[in-house]
Structure formats: C-alpha cells, structure tokens
Symmetry: C2
Subunit: 418 residues, 2 copies
C-alpha cells in the first residue's frame, strides 16, 4: 500500500485508449459529474480498475490516495469487509423481488430512531428521487406550488434543479423561486412576493457547490427559514445527499442546530451500495402515502444490509469525529505547506468534507496545476469540487499526501510566483 512516491509521475496510456473507445459509444465518453472536462484532462486517469480502503488503482496500475470517495458514497473505506460481507450475505438470499424483505422494516426502524426529526422514512435509488419527491410532498401538503431554492445550489439533474440549461423548459421551473444563498433580505423578498402560493424551501446544510469555496450559513439563516415555514405552515426540506453520515448520524441539521421537516439522504448511506432515503416528520406521512413514488430496484435488500453495516462501523468507530479530525489534519497541513512556499490557500468546509483553493485567483489555474501535479503522483485532489475523507483515511495517508502536496505547491510556486 505504501508505493506512492513524489518522484514517480504517472502516465495514462490505458486510460486514454479506453476513453477513446468510450467516446465512440457513450456521449462524452464519460458524462455527468465524472466527466473528465470537469477535472484537468490529460493529468487525471479516466478509468479505475480496483479500490480498497482509502485508495484506488487506475487501469494503468497507478495507485492513489483518494480524496473524492466516489464523490461521497465511500465513507468507511472501499470494499469495507463488514459492509461487503453484510451485502453479500443478503445478496445470496434475496435481492429484489415482488415485495421487500425484513430489512425494509429493520433499516426504517433504525433510521427513525437515529434521526431526531424522523417519524418515517422511504427508500429510493438516487438522491434526486428523494429531492424531487420532497417538493411534491411540500406541494401536496400545502396545496401551494412555489418552492424557494438557493440559486446555484446543487440538488440533482432533474429539470427543476439541473445546473445546466439544455433540455430545460421554462415550465419546468415555473414553480421554483430562486433566492441568493445566505441572503436573508433576498430570501424574505422572494418569500413576500410568493407567499400566497408558498409550499416550502429546500436547502443544503452548507454551501458546497462546485467551483466555490464551501461556506457556512449566517447564524440567523436557518432560524429565519424555519420561522417563515412555521408561520406559513410550509415545508422546510434539507437536501443532505452530499453530507449524509459525515457531519452527524442524525442528519446534518443536528450539526447546524435546526429542524427541517424532511431530510433527503443518499451517497454515503450504504457506503456505495445504491440507496437513497427520505426521512421526515409525521405531518408529511399522509401526503407521502398519496404522492405515488416507486422504482424497480428500490426495495432491494443488499443495499439495506450495507446501510446497517455502514452505520455499525460509523457508530463503533465514532466515524464522524474521526473524519472531522483527519480532514482538519489535512487542511491544516496544506495551509502550513502553502505558507512555507509563500502561497496563500483557502481551506473550507467541515473536516469530513474538506476543500482547498488558492486565495489569490478566481480562475482555478493554480488549483488545476496543484491538483494535476498531486494526482499525477498519487494524491487524487479534485480542482473544482469539494473533497471527502473517510474513516479509512489514516494519519499515514495524510502524511504521504502532504509529502506529495509539498511537491505540487513547489511547482505552483515556480510557475505562478505567488
């Protein structure tokens, strides 16, 4: 596992060949959040062969310490033995069939116990299955249509929320009202303008969109949104898809001290096994039965077994505290290294979801070079998207990461001077 070296620079022949084949039969070769155009083409691998613990190996055999964790789902290590054993055991008995298995109930009971605001849960596959349904529940509950959404916040790629305009009609967003994130004056203005048809608000626990530093909300932000929803009998939804199980096992709202009516969870809930969860208060249970919601694979038992084991791991190892500590160790280390080189970096986000940018640029050119040089030496840093750590990331991983980051900072310093 300790084969990384700051002196060894990776090349990507097999990745590149495979990507050329991919472009022939798949739009863009690789699409969506994994699209190479969102990283630094040429300096990153295109395809992964295997993954274990905090590391993965690309198809050229290059080894990486991973700071994306599959964009969130990996939270207790790739191929975690406990999670995989639980999922495999269940898979041998029952995957998907005409009806759910007992884990449908057992996992629901556990989550309701674990999540303070939850009186019930529902299961699906994608995070956006749940976020989109949550808006429908708010509308059905209130018999109103407008939902307030912070501009540029990522809630998925459905037409009401996708960050890119192609394929979207004005009607898809007719009932979405955008306000400026963390700007309560703007929030109140948009609320006032729409209060006669106000169904609710959807928020992420903090600001974590791509191409931005992560940012924490002001002290009155959630308090005000909660009050407005209460006063209007409207629904406050938290899209916790990206942060699930990384800040607080009871929902990231507990970390920030507020109580939404519904939490949308996914990504880390089953350590990469496909599962998303809606967790909500009793007042939405009636409309949740009425707004038709289903999918072929949603009652599959193996991801539920994986979720139970993921929770066991996180509880027993105090995973949330561990990730906070290890992620802060990474951010502190990067800050110090940068300062040593006379560079200014901004670290942001909670420890479990760290990120770094260069303070004196908006065009990410230093960040792209830094990430590319780190990645080519075995530390997978995304230039434009917040990172993730897991309970599988060790202090030794951080040490090796910083050794390689030191070289990457040096190269940035040499090229940009500051």
């Amino acid at each position: 596992m300790g084969t990384l070296s700051k002196d060894k620079i990776y090349s990507f022949e097999k990745s590149t060949k495979l990507f050329e084949r991919a472009t022939k039969v798949i739009p863009g070769g690789i699409y969506g959040h994994q699209s190479p155009v969102l990283c630094v083409p040429g300096s990153f691998p295109y395809f992964i062969e295997k993954a274990e613990g905090s590391r993965f190996w690309d198809v050229d055999g290059n080894e990486y310490i991973d700071y994306m964790c599959a964009y969130g789902p990996m939270v207790v290590g790739y191929n975690n033995p406990r999670v995989e054993q639980a999922a495999r055991k269940q898979q041998e008995i029952l995957n998907v069939s005409n009806l759910p298995g007992p884990l449908w109930v057992e996992l629901a009971e556990r989550l309701v116990k674990q999540i303070p605001i939850a009186d019930w849960v529902a299961f699906a596959k994608n995070g956006s299955d749940i976020t989109t349904w949550s808006l429908q529940l708010a509308r059905e509950y209130t018999k109103k249509k407008k939902v307030l959404v912070a501009k540029s916040t990522y809630h998925g790629t459905h037409a009401w929320c996708t960050p890119l305009p192609p394929g979207v009609t004005p009607e898809d967003r007719a009932n979405i009202v955008f306000f400026q994130w963390n700007d309560l004056d703007d929030f109140m203005k948009k609320y006032e303008a729409n209060k006669n048809d106000f169904a609710g608000v959807i928020v992420t626990p903090f600001r974590h969109e791509a191409f931005e530093n992560s940012a924490m909300p002001g002290p009155e932000y959630y308090k005000t949104i909660r009050k407005v929803c209460d006063d209007s009998n409207a629904i406050m939804i938290m899209d916790d898809v990206r942060c699930s199980l990384r800040l607080n096992l009871g929902g990231s709202n507990e970390y920030f001290g507020f109580k939404p009516d519904m939490i949308c969870m996914s990504k880390a809930v089953a350590n990469g096994h496909p599962l998303s969860v809606g967790a909500a208060s009793a007042k939405l249970k009636g409309v949740a039965s009425a707004v038709y919601f289903t999918g072929t694979y949603w009652s599959a038992s193996p991801p539920m077994a994986a979720a139970m084991a993921t929770l066991d791991e996180l509880e027993e190892k105090d995973g949330v505290a561990y990730m906070d500590r290890i992620g802060k160790m990474l951010m502190d280390g990067l800050q110090k290294l940068a300062a040593n080189h006379g560079l200014q970096v901004t670290t942001s986000g909670p420890g479990a979801i760290p990120y770094m940018t260069f303070a004196n640029e908006k065009d990410f050119r230093r960040m792209q070079l830094f990430s590319a040089e780190a990645t080519k030496r075995g530390v997978f840093f995304h230039p434009h998207h917040n990172w993730f750590v897991s309970t599988a990331h060790t202090e030794d991983d951080i040490k090796q990461t910083l050794e390689i980051s030191d070289v990457a900072f040096e190269i940035v310093k040499k090229k940009f001077g500051s």
Copy 2:
C-alpha cells in the same frame, strides 16, 4: 423445491406482524407498485425472505412459483449463479468510485452491437431516469417542447407521467400532450394541434398498463408515428423498461418491426442488479452530451458485470424463444382449465409477459379471488398487473401451476357460477 400442494393453504402471521411494524415507520408500510392495496390484502404475503430460480419464500416460510419476477427484473432466475458470480467478482474489485471501470466501455460496446438502432448508450439507475431524460433530449434536439404520450401508459412516477394526480402541478404537464393509445385519428389530431412545437413521441412497445388486458397495436400505428416524427424531424422514443430483453435482445421494437430514435431500458437488463440504459441513434449523441445527466451510483461496475452475464445467459439459452414458449404454455393451460370449468378467460400479452383476466367482468372480482386462491397455495399471480416469466421457469413449474390453478378456477366457479 417440489413442496407445493394444492391442499395446503398458506397463512401470513409473520408477514402481517412485520407489515404492522412497517406501517409505523414507512408511509403505507410498503409503497408504490409493491403496495399491498394493489394486490388482495390478506391473501398475499407482505414480505419475502429468500428467492431462488423461479421461486421465492415469504417470511412465513411459504414457497411460491413466481409469475411477477420482481415486476420484471428477474429474467434468468433469482440468484442466478452465473450472474451472481460475475457481480460478486466485480464487487470485490470495484463498485462505485470517482470514475467508471472498464465495464462501462465494454457493456456499452456490447449493447451498441446488439441493439440495431443504437449508436451509443448511457447508463443510469431507474427506468424513469432514462424516460425523463429522453424527453429532454427530444426537446433539446428539436428546440421544441411538446411530447405526445399515450394516455394511461406507464412511464414512471415523475410528475410528467405519474398515474396518480397528488403532488403534480399543471406546469409539470404543460408540455405533455395526451392521445388515445392506438388511435391514429386522435394521434394525428393532437399532432396537428401541436405541430409547431412538436418535439416527439414516447411509446411503450405494446399496451401493458395495470388493470387492463395487454394489447397489441394496429399495423399502421408505429409506421404512422415514425412517419410523423420523420416528417417533422422530431424524436420517436420507445419506453422498453418493462419489456427489455424479454421480446428481443435488440429492443422490443425489433419484435414489432419499427425503429425508434431512442430506447429506454431497465428492469431485466441486469437480472435485478440496479441498472437502466438509454440506447439511441447518432443524431441524439450531441444533445446527450449537452443535457446534463448524472447520478451517484450510475457508473458502478457490479450491475454492469451482472448485465454482461445476463446477456450471456439469454444468448446461450435462447432465452427469448424459451420464455415465449413457456409463457404460452401457461396461457394455453389456463385457457383449457378455465373452459373445463365453464369459465371464460382472456389471456393476453406475448409469452414472456403473459396475463389473464376473466372475460365476463370489469371489476376484477373473479380475478382477485382466482389470484388469491392460487397465491395462498403457492402460485403468485398478480390480479391487476401483467405477469412475467423467466428462463428459470420449467415445464414442471407450469404443470404444478396448472394443478393449483385448477383448484382456484373451481373456487371461482363455485362462487360466481360463470
């Protein structure tokens, strides 16, 4: 495996207790297509413990020959050794990570080769991920908005297509134009009324909605829709989610002899491992790169390994022909048994997706009694939804099924007289 007996009537104590627990923490206890209110509550199990081949066992230990195949995904038998071995082997190496694995390309190449209309494919998790995206692609390609959809056809539970009104706003359907299924006059009328803003049409290969006999389209149906789309440079989409791999490995359109621009696949594509596929012609590849589309688990490799093995199984065993034969054997047998009892039944659908109703009722009362009595003796027949067979269904399964169906018909005859 041969433990079924027409004289043994099942009870559902453990199922019932588990369902009571479920209702406390999950809306409706079990929601969506698996909701017990859509079967015959009290005469069907609520929870399944294990599944193998053509059979499953509920939590009370009752054994069933299954004619729902998990509502479609199971096509080569539950826990198929070849599929499970392939998925497990892949799972041990790589599930989901920052980038896809080589199977992303290998499966895409195979599907493009296998599906005559396909120049490219894209992967997702739910069938409705693909159907909803297909409408966006049609809109982006044509720069028009209206999509024609046959009324009552099932395309998923997104707001534009859900069969139930709660949670849906008028704006969600502002660009959907409903026409009567298989009614070309109505189709042309709706097309004419919307032709200046006509983006395309989405069809299922045949009519297979719940609470209806399955029905085949008239000979001019697809020809006319294709011509209208060609003349308008609009997009013809086939929602093959339910029928994927059961009528033709190249797409169900090959079975019916037409060429859509895009095929939406899911359910059986990986024998229950979560995967959906969009397969389309070259002209949509550009817009497919532009309409942002992604999900956390979509590049996971194990379902792709399962899909490769499912295709191997179906190809080597000529699964499509086998399912057609075994399903027709079932339908023929049921017809004969019903006639022996002086009952009139209607069988419908292709062999692989068979269905039966009673010809002299519209309220499904005979059908509910028949299904309940069969299910309570180990033959799981859904009263209101088309059935499915798989390559794991044997002639001996059909023989046992007909023995038990004979008793169920007798009970129907006794209660209803005809």
